[in-house]
């Protein structure tokens, strides 16, 4: 057997550690390299139990490897300057997003593909942004240069980011932050803990209700341990984070979306507000707008869809999809796939040609030399637990 995950030798001296590294080790985590960091892929509980625990109670994730940024106007004053400026880089509406609200956003490139996906919250003094770990330096450089005239970018990469996810998260977090239960899904507030600035959003990457807490590194372990003291909380690693987001139908940048996939192809049009679409008041005005508008008008060749295969064998990233059992006509490819612990069966997502993209269409996956029937399904695969 070749052990591909979990036993990876940590030979690379240059790997960074999050402020919770010691905590992970003391909890018995299995550490793996991920986006330049040594990260916990699982704890002794195991991926399956960690996943189930998050869906039933609450899981605590260290996501400090992700990049936290603040975009603030150069001139003292109104944060709306940052919201307006940022719209030049994303096809989202930030001008009418109220202060204290967060929104999923896409940094597009000139070809209409995606540089990154990110979470952006409007704040009194500007925007609070969370970007993917692997892209954080390049995103920060890009935003800094593009908005140089009007805004400055504060990199807060030394801060920690914790995610507390699951139906019990709200009860647990209330012990530390009494105001948290009054927040709605996608609210984002700045607050203070022991005199230190903390940013809390009611959002996450699991499809469950939950919170993300941005805080100074020196506070991270104490807060994490305090949350873990609660009987309903277990530490959860990257393994379960991946299976949870897959069941929730959420994209992983670099796998399900990248610089070659447009929002139209990636089925992310829900993230583009009407006012930025063709015919809207502030239509276009972001990189790749022409391509994306044309795609909206004329359609695209492929679409990201949910995929459920027959039987128990998972179909994973890279598996090719065909129109029928002969395997003559290739119609797509799986970009993420595995076993869904909540679904109790294989789930996947991938791109298929548009004529195969409607739910209940049957395609075939080429798996170890045989053809496995696969049905196109609407996502998410599990009902969301958000508190809107």
């Amino acid at each position: 057997m070749s052990i591909s995950v979990g036993a990876v030798e940590l030979m690379n001296e240059s790997l960074q550690r999050t402020p919770l590294y010691d905590l992970h080790i003391s909890l018995g985590a299995k550490m793996v390299p991920f986006a330049g960091y040594e990260m916990p892929v699982q704890y002794p509980l195991g991926v399956m139990e960690e996943h189930q625990h998050t869906r039933k109670k609450a899981g605590l994730f260290d996501v400090s490897h992700m990049g936290q940024l603040r975009i603030q106007p150069r001139q003292q004053g109104n944060g709306s300057v940052a919201a307006e400026a940022f719209e030049a880089l994303v096809p989202m509406d930030f001008q009418s997003l109220p202060v204290g609200r967060q929104r999923y956003a896409l940094l597009t490139n000139d070809q209409g593909g995606l540089r990154d996906d990110l979470m952006v919250a409007r704040q009194e003094g500007g925007l609070f942004v969370v970007v993917n770990a692997a892209n954080k330096e390049s995103d920060a450089d890009y935003i800094e240069q593009a908005l140089a005239e009007s805004c400055k970018v504060k990199r807060q990469f030394d801060r920690a980011l914790l995610a507390l996810q699951g139906p019990k998260a709200v009860e647990v977090i209330a012990d530390l932050f009494p105001q948290a239960p009054t927040m709605r899904f996608m609210d984002c507030i700045d607050t203070v803990l022991d005199g230190a600035p903390v940013t809390i959003s009611r959002s996450g990457y699991t499809g469950e209700d939950g919170f993300e807490i941005g805080l100074p590194a020196e506070l991270a372990e104490r807060v994490a341990r305090k949350l873990l003291e609660h009987p309903d909380v277990e530490a959860v690693g990257l393994g379960a984070r991946d299976s949870l987001r897959l069941e929730a139908g959420l994209c992983l940048y670099g796998q399900d979306i990248d610089k070659t996939t447009s929002p139209v192809e990636a089925s992310l049009m829900w993230a583009i507000q009407k006012v930025r679409r063709p015919g809207g008041e502030r239509a276009g005005g972001y990189p790749g707008a022409e391509t994306i508008s044309r795609q909206l008008e004329d359609g695209v060749y492929r679409k990201r869809v949910g995929l459920v295969s027959e039987g128990r064998a998972p179909i994973r990233a890279g598996v090719e999809l065909f129109a029928d059992e002969t395997g003559e006509e290739k119609v797509g490819r799986v970009t993420s796939g595995g076993f869904g612990p909540t679904v109790q069966g294989p789930v996947a997502m991938g791109y298929v040609s548009c004529d195969k993209a409607s739910p209940e269409t049957r395609v075939f996956a080429s798996l170890r030399g045989r053809m496995v029937p696969v049905t196109v399904k609407a996502m998410p695969f599990v009902p969301p637990g958000f508190k809107r």
Binding site: M1, E49, G239, A313, P314
Partner: protein, 120 residues
Amino acid sequence: MTTRYTETHEWVNLEGDTATIGITHHAAEELGDVVFVEAKEAGTELAAGEAVAVVESVKAASDIYTPLQATVLSFNEKLSDDPSLINSAPEGEGWIVKVKLASPEEFDRLLSAEQYQQKL
């Protein structure tokens, strides 16, 4: 009956010319929760080092190799209903396949328990 091991974390038991192959405790632990197991069909002829089965955990798919030239005899059907047997009893009830070795005398070339332990 002796058990021998491979550098790729399989264990092999030999009775006559029939070998039983599974994965070691160490491998099962590294893999994590097993969700699916599938083997080559009975009658398939395999060269030494070829994949005889695949074990899928939540995290990844891993090939299981026959260390010696062999013909597949049977698959542990219990694993179809309960793949987690590989986690609970990897070196017992969670065996994966039985194969007929082409040259049973080669069995002694595989690692002893001590040799395998040293490689971990």
